[in-house]
Structure formats: structure tokens, C-alpha cells
């Protein structure tokens, strides 16, 4: 068990536990863990004020490796536990680690309601497009036709895109990053940490045992520049090794299209400028079909609005002001009574 440490003096080490990490060697979860442990000290949150909640899955082992309070709960329900924790003690900084199965299969409904309520919880969804802990069945993010132990001739159901789901239920902060992109993931984590409300981050994570290389086509150095677009608020949607490509809105089709700047009259002026407060744009970016389009990474959408836990605290406060101290005797004796 950890000892008391001055928040100001916190380091990466302070966030590490004495438990040996039990992921497969080479698992993307290691780099996510390292990045989280690297960023947390910057937040100035004391260890004891932070709670990591998770469901069940390889990804959900996460809390055991964070030297904060941690609750490894049951499969798919982490958002509900996190809601109870945050409502009971709004001062806590509550973080959630989940997987594509835990968060979108069995847990899809709780995720959806956590997002719509805008509970002030930070959600990291480790998307490896597979069930890792149960040794390799397809997940709701697996591509159609995926051959797995449970689908020997290929899966028949089409996947959901986690970011699109989050936007469909009015998530107030929706972002994407990649397990091994330390810099980018760090930035996104910081943005999420400072967002007041539910921050949803989909992290593409490689499961090198059951779905190795699922994201290589756009995460590997070689194609990165061509197959990813890093969105930044207020900056034009430009990508490509020589930043020669851009995203434009086709007025006729009302759909986005990839254009080459300079080629037949396309200028930077034609390129859409990212506005993270525009839900439609966020939806279009999240929805861009790959590989026809690059994969949009970064903060797709961010908007500040009242949180569920905040509103409930206000209601409690309001009640105290209006009704005063609790008085059970008065309550029990209210209404019609008689004395003998």
C-alpha cells in the first residue's frame, strides 16, 4: 500500500504499483499504461483523490497497475459503478478503463447513459477489435467477415465505430488516439483530464496475440502520414507526408472528400477547418470510411455543458438551503397524527 505523497512532488513512479503486470509481452496495453502513468503526475491530483474503475477484460486489469484507488468490477458495468462513485463523492477524479467488448458489447447501454448524462468521468476504451481475455472472439468493432474462434466462416454483423456511437448519444467530449503514439495520446489524455463532463477516448490498441497488426495499415511509420489525419481545433484538415492533402466538403453531395492541394485549383482555402464544437463535423470525421479516407485522430468533439453529478450536487445544496437541516422527528410527525 502506498504512503502519503505530496501531490506537487508526484512522479511517474508514484503511480506504479507493486503488482507485476500480467499482460502478454508486447501487448499495446503496456504503452497505454506507461503513457497514463506519465501524464497523471502533471494533473496535480493527489493519488488518493483518483479512482480507476474498470469492468472485465485484459484492458480492465488496468486499475491493478495504478497506485490510486481502484475498482475492478464486473463485465460491462464500470460506467454504472463510476456514476455511483462520482455522485457519492464529486471531489474524486474518476477514470475508467474498458475494452471494445466490455464497453460496447455487454456494456454498451451503460456507456451510452453515462455519456448522455455527462457524468464527470474520463473513459479510456481500449479498442483492439477482439475479445482478448477470453482468447479471441470477434467484438462489436471487428470488421465484417472476421474469422475468429466463434466465427470460423467470418462474422456476419457489421461493426460500430466507438466515436460515432459516443456522438450519437451526445457525448460532450469524443477523441481518438493510438496506444503507441506517446505524444499524441498524452495530449489527448491531458485534454480529457481537463474536460468537465464525460470524456470519451477511443484508443486503438494492438492485441498481438489474437488480433496482431489490426491497425498497422494506418499506425505504422510507413503509411502514418498518408492514412491518419490529426485533427486540431481551428486548424485546416490537412494531412499527407508533405501535408499536400486535405478534406473538403462537397457541396453537391454534402459529403467530405479528399483533395490534393494545388491540384486542379484546390487551395488551402477549400479545406475544412476543424471546429471541435461542431457535432456534424465530428460525426463526418468519425464516419469517414477507411481506407478511402484517413483515420481521424485527436479531439473530434468537445463541448462544455452541465454534468450529472454537478446538477445533483446543486439539487442537494438547494434542498439544504430550502428545507434546512434534516429533521426526522419533524418528518415522522408531519401530517395527520393523534396522541393517546
Amino acid at each position: 500500500m502506498s504512503n502519503i505523497v505530496e501531490p506537487t512532488r508526484l512522479t511517474k513512479k508514484d503511480f506504479e504499483t507493486d503488482q507485476d503486470v500480467r499482460w502478454c509481452p508486447g501487448c499495446g496495453d503496456y504503452s497505454i499504461l506507461a503513457n497514463v502513468q506519465r501524464v497523471m503526475p502533471e494533473l496535480g491530483v493527489p493519488l488518493e483523490q483518483m479512482v480507476w474503475v474498470s469492468g472485465i477484460g485484459c484492458s480492465s486489469r488496468f486499475p491493478y497497475y495504478m497506485n490510486t484507488y481502484g475498482f475492478h468490477t464486473i463485465h460491462g458495468r464500470a460506467p454504472a459503478f463510476a456514476t455511483g462513485i462520482k455522485v457519492a463523492n464529486p471531489k474524486l477524479s474518476v477514470w475508467l478503463a474498458t475494452g471494445d467488448g466490455d464497453g460496447l458489447s455487454i456494456g454498451g447501454n451503460h456507456l451510452m447513459h453515462c455519456l448522455r448524462r455527462n457524468v464527470d468521468v474520463k473513459i479510456l476504451l481500449f479498442n483492439n477489435r477482439i475479445y482478448g481475455l477470453t482468447k479471441g472472439q470477434y467484438s462489436p468493432t471487428s470488421e465484417v467477415g472476421k474469422i475468429t474462434k466463434s466465427t470460423p466462416v467470418g462474422s456476419a454483423d457489421q461493426p460500430v465505430d466507438p466515436a460515432c456511437v459516443a456522438l450519437g448519444v451526445n457525448g460532450s467530449f469524443v477523441a481518438r488516439s493510438v496506444d503507441v503514439e506517446a505524444q499524441h495520446l498524452g495530449d489527448v489524455l491531458r485534454r480529457a483530464a481537463h474536460h468537465v463532463g464525460t470524456a470519451f477516448i477511443e484508443i486503438y490498441q494492438n492485441c498481438n496475440v489474437f488480433n496482431d497488426g489490426a491497425f498497422d495499415s494506418f499506425t505504422e511509420k510507413a503509411h502514418k502520414a498518408e492514412r491518419q489525419i490529426r485533427v486540431e481545433h481551428g486548424k485546416p484538415l490537412i494531412f499527407g507526408a508533405n501535408r499536400e492533402k486535405g478534406i473538403r466538403l462537397n457541396m453537391r453531395t454534402l459529403a467530405l472528400e479528399v483533395v490534393s492541394i494545388g491540384v486542379n485549383g484546390v487551395t488551402e482555402a477549400d479545406i475544412v477547418v476543424h471546429d471541435e464544437t461542431n457535432p456534424t463535423l465530428a460525426y463526418m470525421l468519425a464516419h469517414m470510411p477507411y481506407p478511402a479516407f484517413p483515420v481521424a485522430l485527436g479531439v473530434l468533439f468537445a463541448e462544455t455543458r452541465p454534468t450529472y453529478d454537478g446538477s445533483l450536487s446543486e439539487q442537494r445544496l438547494g434542498a439544504e438551503l430550502k428545507q434546512g437541516k434534516p429533521d426526522l422527528d419533524k418528518l415522522l410527525r408531519g401530517g395527520e397524527t393523534w396522541t393517546i
Binding site: 503488482q19 462513485i85 447501454n109 426526522l328 422527528d329 395527520e336 396522541t339
Partner: protein
Amino acid sequence: MTESNIVTSSSARTVLDSAVVRFAGDSGDGMQVTGDQFTAAAALARNDLATFPDFPAEIRAPAGTLYGVSGFQINFASQDVFTPGDAPDVLVAMNPAALKTNLRDLKRGGLLIVNAGAFNAANLKKAGYETNPLEDGSLNGFNLVNIDITKLTVAAVKEQGLSNKEAHRCKNFWTLGLMFWLYGRPLEPTIKWIQNKFHKRDDLVQANIAALKAGHAYGETAEISHNRYEVPAAPVASGTYRNIGGNTATAWGLLAATQLSGLNMVLGAYPITPASDVLHELSKFKHFGVTTIQAEDEIAAVCAAIGASYAGNIGVTTTSGPGMALKMEGIGLAIATELPLVIVDIQRGGPSTGLPTKTEQADLLQAVYGRNSEAPLCVIAASTPGNCFYMAIEAARLALKYMTPVILLTDGYLANGTEPWLIPKLDELPRIEVKFRTDPQGFHPFLRDPKTLARNWAIPGTPGLTHRIGGLEKDYDSGHISYAPSNHELMCQTRAAKIAGIADDVPEQQIDVGDESGKLLVLGWGSTYGSIREAVQRCRTRGLSVSHAHVHYLNPLPKNLGELLKRFDRVLVPELNLGQLVKLVRSQYLVPAESFPKVQGQPFKISELEERIRQMMES
């Protein structure tokens, strides 16, 4: 009001020591209001009483239909009352459907007051009457009082110039007035009630008061071939009383727990009949530090409650049968992580959706065994509406002291039934001691109190105690994950021993009625308390050697129960299920306890129990 004068009985009255009255009418006829007002009057007259409202399953069924009938029964007496009574002495039927569905229960020769005004062709047809029962002589066996209440009410209120619809709505107060006359009740309290209920519309105030008085006057003047009654006050313990229903008492007991423990409370709930009213009630008390979360489903509800407990609040979840089934996986986690949690299961008729608005006691075995693997927890049950208050406090006390989920079982009958209740004072109630762990010295999350075996409770926000817990098995000595064979067995046995140990912390089983030993013990639990008690008392007055013991602690069972059972030649276990407690006692004590099951969505009639007891004594 806290005090009230009651009319002095006129010599013209037959004095009864108890009376059972049932009001029955269309959902729109305001029978529940009528019943509540009649109940208040009986209470103010210091009668002991018990009530039983019986709603239709449909929200607002079409007027005049059989399944749209709403009923309210009250049993009031000058002696102790334990049930709403079996067969009514007086039935008020506001329309043919109400007559059709309720007549079978009325005592032979009982007083039958019907609103002839509603017996038109259309209503008769909806109720499935070929001929008009008021005319075809089929009611000869009863003391029929046949009044066109509709017409008389409309006449009584015409001055207020209400719409026809509104005028008709006053029927129930006219009827109430007549019943007040019959039992010599004062009108003032109801007049006061009408005044502030309708204070926004003076015409309605006047109209309803007029109707009330008209009904009363009708009694005075008209030749009702029937004399008036008096039910004198019952000799009850002195103190301040109120009338209370089970769901309200449960909610208030939980509120009391916050004050007694000094902890805030989070209720995670998903609406379900008949549990929703506990959520509704608690949502009004935010200033008690109570937060209610209407979750997306029962699973989220229990998980949010567990999360709140993890964070140091009292986590509570309320539900009924089907919702209970959904919560079991979550409850298993609370058992594995040893967190306090109060689960209230307000039982209803099943299986599956079953009979949502009817009562049943069939979730006992689900409560005790309905989880994967060895997942022991504490199960207790309330026996009367007022008792729900104390058992709710007890559930919180045990949950906090033993760091365990506690299931409190009530049912639809307790939830909606009411009884006069001696109001306790907060400072008479036992404080609930809660100590959070703060000392990092030698801390691990599964360190146990050697006596209670409860683990120490270290909540997020406590410096130096950061730790991780979860549903995987833990090492007894460090709290870390452990798959070691013998450790697993030790942990399973420890969790079991912790729950078993609660038996040392709860009252020993008492005999509620009768001798400490004898020929027959009637063993009950939950809402059957009143009927069993009354039935056993009656049998004893007939000289039968029978006693009644009522179990409030179902898991663990009271430590003297086995020995107590063995003091009787035979044990009968009446339950509103096919036999559940009887299974528990037979397996635990190997006594040949016999089951007396009833699964009709209705409480036991005292007579059913009396008869069964008599049969056993004869055989």
C-alpha cells in the same frame, strides 16, 4: 392536526368491537380517497385498524369495465387489529362492475350499499350482467341499500354550477358522508381536508362539502332499514400515532439510517411496481444527504449503489422480483468485495412478469441462494407496514457493521397496506457506529475485525490507503489477487462465517403468541404476521394448544430457532408461495415442518389459517 375531538356515541347505536368495510368503484370514482378519509376518521376515533387497497393492473382502464374496478378495504376495531379483515361486513359498490367483482366476498346478510344511478344498461353490459341485479332478486341474501347516489349528489351540488362531469366526481364524498353517519364520525376533519386539497377552486370545496353533508343528512333523515353502529376506541399504548404504509415506512427507515449513521445515502433504482414509491419518496429528501439515481436498468441501479458504498455512502437499491433477478451478478461483486449494500425487494406475483400489482412471498429462496457460487449474504423481512421502518434501519445497521449486502424483503401487501403506527423519536433509535479506516500502518483492504470478521473500510480520498479491489479471489493476508487453492477455501469459509456470525447480533426468536411449547407452532415470516397472529389467537380462545412465532431474520436464522421448533409436536409454515421458508428450516434443523402454501396474489384470510390449524389439531 395532532389532536381531535370525536363524537360521543348516541344510545341509538349498536356497539361493535370491529367492522370491515370495503369501498369499490371505477378507477375514476375516487375510492382510494374515500378509503383514506374513512381511515383517517377511524384513526382519529382511536380505533385500531388495517387497510388493504387493491388497484387494477391497468393505468386507467376504460370506465365501467371489470378490470377497471378499484377497491379499498378497512378493518377497524375497539381491540387490536392485525389484518384488513377477511369478508367485509359492509360493501359499497359504486357501479355494476364493482358489484360483480366484489359481491362474492361480502358476508351473507351483510350491508350492501349500491349506487343505483350507475346501474344503466351500458354499465350492466360492461359488467356482464344479463339482468339488473338490483331487480332480479339475486341480492336477496344481503341487506341491500339501494340509492341513486349520482342523482342525489348532482342535486346537492347544483348551486356550485359545476360541469356535469365535475358534479359526478363528488359522488364519493356523498358516499363518505353517509358512511360517516353510519359509524358516527365527525365531518370536520374531512371538511378541513377538502378545504386545503381544493383550495385553488372554491366551487369544488363548496361542492364536495355539500355532497359530504348531503350524504350525512340522507342518513339522518331517510328510512334506512338499518340502525347505526359505534366502534369504540381501542385500548392502545399511549403515545403519538400516525397512519403509515409499508413503502413510506421503508423510505423513512432508510432516512433514519442516514441520521443514525451520519452517512450520506445514494439510492440506485429503476422503477418497478410495487417498489417505485420508495424511489419517489426518497427523491424528496435531498436535504437528508440522500441522492436518488433513476438508473437505466436494475443492473446499473445496483452497480451505482455499490459504487456509492465503495465511495463511503450507504448504497441502497430497491426493486421487485424480476429486477431482483437482474441484480444478482452485481450483488455477487458486493459480496466478493465485502461492501455494505442495502437491497429492498418488494415482492410481487410471478413467475416472470406474473401479477405485477398483486402480492407474493416467493423471492425468499432467490434472496438466499440466487447467485453464482458460494455467495452468502444477510436476508431479513418486515412483518407489518410500520415494521418496515425498523427493518430498513436494521438492514442498514447490519450492512455497515458487517460490510455485506443485506436483502430486506417486503411485499406488495405491506407496501400499500397501512396501519396506525406509534411514532418513535430519533434519539430513542440506536445509533449506527461507522469507523472508516484512516491509519496506513499495516493496512490492507481485507484486514478483518476479529469479532465481526468485517473487513476495514478505507474509502477513496483517504491519504495513504490507496488500494485496488475487485471480483477476483483475494489473498486473506494481503488482499491481493490470489488463485491459491487453500486461500480460496479460507476466504469462502470466512465470508460464510461472517454472515453466520450475524446470528449473535440479532434478537433470539420469540414466541409471538401462545406458550413456549405445545402441540403446534405456526411459523411465519413477512407480511403474513397479522393473519397468522389473529388466527392463532382465535384458535387459542377455542382452547387449542397452538403458538405463533414470526421470523424476521431469515439468513442467518435466529440461533435459538432450531431448539425452539423442537419444543412443539408439529410445525406449520404458512407462506404466500409454494413453500420456501419450510425448505430452509427442514434442511437446517431436520424438523418435519409442514408447508401451508397460498399463491393467489392475495394475503391469507384468517379463516383459511384457522381452518387449517383446526384440521391439524383434529388429525
